[in-house]
């Protein structure tokens, strides 16, 4: 059997038609991971038993594979009567998993803000909430645009894991074609190239954004 380029090209439209699902999963997971990660980081900074627990949770997430987290949620939740379906389970899994990484990014971003900013906010009588939302968060986001963007790309590249749970994103579609035609190499290669293109495109956009935020000296 040879690699059949004509057949590979014929699978492109079908695989591309699943790009919406891939982007949906990636977008929801990016938002979810950022929100959960920011929450985790705020709890961790506040100290106390909650902070200690979150510190351990983040370490635990970072020392375990995302694939195993997806299996865990997918098989354990229904055992307790929580049936969410593969798509929702997958998005929750990616959000939770990458929240551990984004919490570390937020930590670095907040640590880099000069102490005087928080003190000034307090001197002006801002409450904790106002200070976090209007003083800390905007400066933090400027500091961490690049690493945050890199994790968004990581999340995009983790969306094909959901094919394991039978979510019909691009890798899942490629496998559907493969099992119909008994030709695996071509549709998988096509899916791989589309993902590579997407990842490079988004990386480029992030580099542009970083230069705009930090000025032309940013590398």
């Amino acid at each position: 059997m040879q690699f059949d380029i004509a057949f590979a090209l014929s699978t492109v439209p079908s695989i591309l038609s699943a790009i919406g699902m891939t982007l949906l999963v990636a977008a929801v997971s990016c938002v979810g991971a950022s929100a959960v990660g920011f929450g985790l980081e705020l709890i961790r900074r506040s100290g106390g038993p909650g902070g200690l627990f979150v510190r351990f949770l983040i370490d635990f997430i970072r020392a375990t594979p995302v694939l195993v987290w997806l299996y865990c949620l997918y098989f354990i939740l229904p055992f307790y009567g929580i049936r969410l379906g593969a798509l929702a389970t997958g998005m929750i899994g990616l959000s939770l998993y990458y929240s551990g990484y984004l919490a570390e990014v937020f930590k670095a971003g907040i640590d880099a803000i000069p102490k005087g900013q928080a003190e000034a906010a307090r001197a002006l009588g801002l409450g904790r909430m106002d200070m976090t939302v209007f003083v800390i968060a905007p400066q933090m986001l400027r500091n961490i645009a690049a690493p945050m963007g890199n994790y968004f790309v990581s999340i995009l590249k983790a969306t094909p894991y959901l094919a394991v749970l039978a979510v019909p994103e691009m890798l899942g579609r490629a496998f559907d074609i493969a099992s119909d035609t008994y030709r695996y190499a071509e549709p998988l290669t096509v899916a791989g190239l589309i993902f590579l293109g997407l990842a490079l495109l988004i990386s480029l956009a992030i580099k542009r954004l970083e230069i705009r935020l930090l000025g032309p000296t940013a590398r």
């Binding site: 020392a63 195993v68 055992f79 695996y184 998988l188």
Partner: protein, 219 residues
């Protein structure tokens, strides 16, 4: 099935997990070193070629790369074992990330290091091997340790190409007996037990290299 039997079952897969990690390093370390240095030393078209190779391995989704090489290499007449393909794909993927750490470490060195070597009449290769690389590699060692953890976690993917690692064993056990809660939580814990000591070691190394910490923002 008792919890002890579950753990013994998962433990049977540890050998494959460790082997894939080890063989993966055989690919990752030379690739990271050679391509990191090459990206640092080359300019023009040569640098473009080096960067393209790195970006292919680094920016592709590793789960798809694994499937593509597993199914496509036999078509090219290369019948490699699942173990070799897995070690190569996971190793070169992590090696791509490592090459960026090598390059960044070299670029971050003070220019005076290289100039002092030149003033002493040392050859370019001596400067690289005896002055630049030792400093760059030590400075980036916490990053390399993090990447080792990423590699261990990525080995969970080999369960998808028929290798019986810890994840594969856990899935097998849960097919024999429907008891997902202890099986999958044991699996998570197993990876944590392997990876967490490495993470702690990485933090210790980082403290040794970088003892000065900035004052934290008071949020």
């Amino acid at each position: 099935m008792s919890i002890l039997e579950i753990w013994l079952g998962i433990l049977q897969g540890f050998r494959v997990t460790a082997l894939v990690t080890l063989y993966g390093l055989v690919f990752a370390i030379p690739f990271g070193l050679v391509f990191g240095v090459a990206q640092y030393m080359t300019t023009g078209p040569a640098r473009f070629v080096v960067t393209s190779v790195i970006e292919f391995w680094r920016s592709s989704a590793v789960i798809i790369l694994l499937f593509v090489f597993y199914y496509a290499l036999p078509l090219a007449g290369l019948a490699l074992s699942a173990m070799t393909v897995s070690a190569m794909v996971l190793g070169l993927n992590i090696g791509g990330y490592a090459s960026q750490a090598v390059r960044a470490g070299l670029q971050a060195l003070d220019r005076g290091q290289k100039e002092a070597g030149q003033a002493l009449g040392l050859s370019r290769s001596t400067i690289l091997l005896r002055i630049e690389l030792p400093q760059a590699l030590v400075a980036m060692s916490p990053t390399f340790i993090n990447q080792l953890i990423q590699l261990v976690k990525a080995t969970s993917l080999v369960s998808l190409v028929t290798l019986s690692d810890m994840t594969f064993r856990a899935k097998e056990i849960s097919q024999i007996e429907y008891d997902p809660v202890p099986i999958y939580s044991s699996l998570l814990l197993a990876y944590f037990i392997v990876c967490y000591p490495v993470a702690l070691f990485g933090r210790w190394v980082e403290r040794r290299i970088n003892p000065v910490r900035e004052a934290r923002c008071a949020v």
